[in-house]
Subunit: 199 residues, 2 copies
């Protein structure tokens, strides 16, 4: 091996990052060592602070070091809309569309084979959040996978009869795609969910 | 913004890594926070240790926290061969070919327009290393770019008349490629450097 122990250790540690293999880790380690040591130290401090300091928002369960995350703490958001997602990354994705309601973040989706039942993914907390809030609509924005659909259906059942409007994000053809490249299931959803033009 | 300050800081810091943009940094940060906090802390420790502890090998100038890097400290290597490269990553690349001589690591290549002359890239140290060693061959393995070629020629001039065999790595068609995809300059080199078959 041609790297000294500290460099080897840094390369191995960089490989915990998603999508980083041996070659990328080498390039990252050597580039930081040669060109940006203060950046490397800054990254080390940010990592330590975040790993030790970040917990979960009491209200929406997303990652946050404060008791209330910036979204829950913002008084200007729409308290009648609750968007339920599978994780913190999805909060960011939905947020970027211009959505300005509230969020609730599950810990993934129901997956009985992996032992992940309603308690494991935080559905009791979701029900408590809905009881405590003044929502008129619950948007179920779990992922468009089999497990995400099942999770959405389960939540819809649990919240039925409370006078809430329960909606699911639309399935259909993505913008900018070509019909011949879209899978059959998606296209069937797009046809079934067709809407009048010029609305 | 939908992330709390510590998470935002972590995302910003991850972007100093080469090839990591905003989306990748978000994914890295949230994945570490959700699934691998001990890995994140381990990475922070490795970064701090490497950024603060790694210097340069006294002999070959590669990155190393010891006075002599593992390659220079290894007594079993061939002391008659010296391979000159532009940086620590190239050491690793050449090492993987099975080369078992010694190395000297420049700080990049000559680039007069950027103010990088012979002193800036460590050529005086290279000359001193050659004087102090017992080499019979110097392999100039700078990159096959205009600047790398110029650097190789400069070094060859400086070391001329010392009774050393000075060689340059071969230019030619890469293995597994197709001739029609190879650029004209490379193909011209490959033709000019043709060798008898079955040697």
């Amino acid at each position: 091996m041609s790297f000294s122990p500290l460099i080897r250790q840094l390369i191995d540690s960089l490989r915990i990052l998603p999508g980083v293999g041996q070659k990328t880790a080498q390039r990252m380690a050597l580039q930081m060592l040669e060109r940006d040591r203060s950046g490397g130290l800054q990254l080390a401090r940010a990592l330590t602070a975040a790993m030790e300091g970040v917990g979960h928002c009491q209200r929406c369960r997303t990652l946050s070091e404060d008791a209330l995350c910036p979204l829950c703490a913002d008084p200007r958001r729409d308290d009648s809309l609750l968007c339920v997602v599978e994780g913190p990354l999805e909060v960011f994705a939905v947020e970027q569309t211009g959505f300005r309601g509230r969020f609730f973040v599950l810990k993934g989706h129901l997956s009985p084979l992996d032992g992940l039942g309603p308690e494991a993914i935080g559905i009791p907390e979701l029900l408590a959040r809905v009881e405590a809030g003044s929502f008129s609509e619950i948007i179920l924005a779990t992922n468009p996978t089999v497990e995400g659909e099942a999770t959405a259906h389960y939540i819809a059942q649990m919240l039925a009869g409370k006078g809430l409007s329960m909606t699911r994000i639309a399935h259909g053809v993505p913008l900018g795609g070509e019909l011949e490249m879209v899978d059959g299931g998606t296209l069937a959803h797009a046809l079934a969910g067709r809407r009048p033009m010029g609305a």
